[in-house]
């Protein structure tokens, strides 16, 4: 039964491969989110949003993209509602001129922070839609990630789906005892809800840890300085080109941002309020 030799190509067993290396996607994500934090004008943020949207369209998962945008719209409206409601509540609970002045501008320039979220969402989605755990683990090995990071990250990637399944089973088990773990029970019986969910999960996790650490020890995972790999990850020309393009465009947008005239601040926004705060207290009274 035991074969003596066999030809094996591990690359032939995996499905359709991503056009870009996962390291490229991660670097793009880091550059875009960092640059977006610096940008604050509508024009530059809109340009960044448009460019990253084109990058996202390359995944060709149009239904997911539409769903993600609709969800983001919904979350934005919900957040606005909560922020507006909270500001009214603060004004009611803490009446005073300072509070009312600060909260009166709660919805001014609200679009800028949300516009800033769009490029981040685009790059995040493009990672998510192309993500493969195998690719990520391979990247960790190829960049020679230290053992103290490699093992926890490997365990994380392996056990997130496992935990989702364990939580489903736990929910079933608790329901069979006549309790429903949900939002209502969490409000009515928060400590009982935590006991019913966290105790079994923590015990299960610690038992998993015992077995898994034994397995890792026996396989000597993390003990070699330079482990070899079943599959080799390669940076291709396209990766270099896309990375270079990202850096150039980001730099151009930063320069554009620096040369744009500063918009007039509305009352209640940062510049207006900071000038008020800096005034002697006697003047504000």
């Amino acid at each position: 039964m035991l074969a003596l030799s066999a030809k094996f190509d591990p690359d032939s067993t995996v499905g359709k491969r991503d056009a870009l290396d996962i390291r490229t996607r991660l670097l793009i994500s880091l550059v875009v989110t960092s640059v977006t934090l610096y940008l604050s004008s509508n024009a530059t943020l809109a340009a960044m949003s448009a460019l990253t949207f084109c990058y996202l369209l390359q995944t060709r998962r149009y239904a997911v993209i539409v769903a993600a945008y609709l969800l983001m719209l919904l979350m934005t409206l919900l957040s606005l509602g909560i922020i507006y409601g909270s500001s009214r509540l603060f004004m009611l609970l803490l009446p005073g001129e300072g509070m009312s002045r600060m909260m009166s501008g709660v919805l001014d320039n609200f679009h800028t922070p949300f516009l800033r979220s769009i490029p981040s969402m685009n790059v995040l989605l493009s990672i998510g839609l192309n993500f493969s755990v195998q690719g990520f683990v391979g990247t960790m090995k190829s960049v020679r990630m230290p053992r103290f990071l490699f093992i926890p990250l490997l365990v994380f990637c392996r056990f997130v789906p496992e935990f989702v399944d364990v939580i489903r089973q736990l929910r079933d088990a608790v329901r069979m005892r006549g309790f429903a773990v949900g939002f209502g029970s969490a409000i009515l019986h928060p400590f009982q809800t935590i006991r019913l969910t966290a105790v079994p999960l923590v015990v299960r996790t610690l038992r998993m840890a015992d077995n898994l650490s034994m397995a890792a020890e026996m396989k000597r995972v993390g003990y070699a300085k330079h482990p070899t790999q079943l599959r080799t990850l390669r940076f291709r020309h396209l990766d270099f080109a896309v990375l270079a393009f990202t850096v150039l465009v980001s730099a151009a947008l930063c320069i554009w941002e620096a040369h744009l005239p500063k918009p007039k601040r509305m009352p209640g926004t940062r510049s207006a309020r900071s000038s008020q705060i800096s005034q002697p207290s006697g003047i504000t009274k």
Partner: protein, 499 residues
């Protein structure tokens, strides 16, 4: 190949030694079974052989142990190069996300060159019939395939000795048979096997030696060479006068021939299922496609079928944890007014909530079914809210006594042994006074004594008018308790058990 002389081991923080003066020898290509009741020291012996003791588990290690030319205690990397280990739950042992990566993992960290890794992985995948699953996620393969994946990884790493801890605990009878064949093949190729298991029957014809442990000491050491008239070691074991006192399982088990539910002569049904349709999502295949059957009252019905046919899904549908896409699940009221397990409704389709109230479900994973600080609190928590305090306390005392847990009532449920936990979970289910009791692999990893306690109480429950549905691969349990069988086939094929 393996020589153990007066091997003793004492875990830190334990009063008694877990191994005391264990001696044995094993030649290349031989198979040794280490067995005994729960807590006898089997797993500890396995941990000394694979080097986890004293490298991973600290404590006092005495005696002489030699594997090949390696004198123990030895560094774990040197031991692991020769000794491969298969733990009880392969899912807790697999670290990679695909089959091929798992098989290659140990080789990668041994810095074996890529070409050599590919050759060995190819050999191992072909040898264990896993080549078609090479790129598959470990989440999307069956328990038996996961077990094979772990074995393939061990063999690819070049193990001369393979130690297995309860390898059949989660395997179907077919997968268990495959494992026995695999063990024989490994032996032919010179691989030495050390197997720790409660289930004995599947090793008939595989074993060369057998050790029975109790409290860390060797109670019996049997070798086939020089055995009486070439008898199998299992037959020699069963003929020993003390065999019945060691709390072990039977050496001879066969698949029981059970009548199918719904045939003429079956008792009155307790649950009827009509035109059941179910699938998890609109994109997935139908698991149940017009399925109809009935479950007889006062009997244990075994649900049998291959992995992935939806046995646990049926249990979740019956309990009201899942809603059928369409169809009807009805609980038929007992004809006797004095039944100990009254059903809340007459013969009518129940809502999922009503089904949950009338059903108890003992799941496979015990840790997620225990929540409280003491065994007693756990049982009180399981009692129906409608019962008064006095009735609850009386029930708790009764079930503690029945399951032999009275002396453990102040212990933390998670500090109990596997067998004690299983008994507690079953007691919690019976505290609910259910009309229908569903058990999913209740005896996986249990020794003979605990298995027989579970079987005895299951029989007592059905004798008092209760209805039980049993999902298990444990042929020994099936042969003791099952009255009927309900065969589940894939939905694309015709269903069995039609009324």
């Amino acid at each position: 190949m393996i020589t153990a002389e007066n091997l003793s081991y004492h875990y830190p923080f334990c009063d008694a030694p877990s191994l005391a003066d264990v001696s044995f020898t094993l030649e290349k290509g031989e198979a040794l079974l280490v067995t005994g009741a729960s807590g006898c020291g089997k797993s500890t012996l396995l941990r000394t052989l694979n080097g986890l003791i004293p490298n991973h588990f600290k404590g006092k290690f005495e005696g002489r142990l030699k594997v090949l030319d390696l004198e123990f205690p030895a560094p774990l990397d040197e031991v692991s190069a020769h000794v491969g280990t298969v733990l009880q739950n392969p899912e807790d042992q697999i670290m990679a996300t695909t089959v091929q990566e798992e098989v290659a993992l140990a080789l990668e960290w041994q810095c074996v060159p890529q070409d050599e890794i590919r050759r060995r992985v190819g050999v191992a995948l072909n040898s264990f019939d896993l080549a078609r699953l090479a790129g598959r996620s470990v989440f999307n393969i069956s328990s038996g395939e996961r077990q094979k994946c772990v074995l393939a990884a061990v063999m690819a790493a070049g193990a001369d000795v393979v130690v297995m801890d309860e390898p059949t605990a989660n395997l179907s009878p077919e997968a268990t048979e495959d494992l026995a064949k695999l063990c024989l093949t490994l032996k032919i190729h010179g691989v030495t096997l050390v197997i720790v298991d409660h289930r004995l029957y599947w090793l008939r014809g595989v074993l060369d030696r057998l050790l029975v442990l109790s409290d860390g000491k060797v109670m019996a050491s049997i070798a086939s060479k020089g055995g009486r008239n070439g008898q199998d070691v299992l037959d020699i074991l069963s003929s020993l006068p003390d065999f019945a006192t060691w709390g072990m399982r039977s050496v001879n088990v066969s698949c029981p021939a059970l009548p199918t539910v719904g045939k003429a002569g079956s008792p009155q049904p307790a649950v009827t299922i009509r035109d059941l349709y179910f699938r998890y999502s609109k994109k997935s295949e139908w698991l149940y496609n017009g399925f109809s059957t009935s479950i007889p009252r006062g009997a244990v019905t075994a649900v049998v079928g291959a992995n992935g046919t939806g046995k646990t899904t049926l249990a979740r549908l019956l309990c009201g944890l899942l809603k059928p896409t369409s169809g009807e699940i009805a609980f038929v009221a007992a004809s006797q007014a004095d039944s100990a397990h009254p059903c809340a409704s007459d013969s009518s389709a129940l809502t999922p909530h009503q089904r949950r109230a009338n059903t108890a479900f003992v799941m496979q994973q015990m840790d997620i079914q225990l929540y409280m600080r003491t065994v007693e609190e756990e049982l009180i928590f399981s009692a129906p809210r409608r019962l008064g305090r006095a009735a609850r306390c009386a029930d708790v005392a009764h079930w503690l006594d029945v399951f032999g847990l009275t002396h453990l009532k102040d212990r933390h449920p998670h500090s109990l042994s596997g067998g004690e936990k299983q008994r507690l979970v079953m007691a919690c289910a019976l505290m609910k006074r259910p009309s229908l009791l569903i058990l999913d692999e209740p005896t996986s990893g249990l020794d003979g004594r605990n298995m027989r306690i579970i079987a005895r109480e299951l029989k007592a429950y059905t004798a008092s008018g209760g209805t039980a549905l049993l999902i298990t691969h444990d042929l020994e349990l099936l042969s003791i308790v099952a009255d009927f069988k309900l065969e589940i086939a894939h939905a694309e094929h015709p269903m069995e058990g039609v009324d």
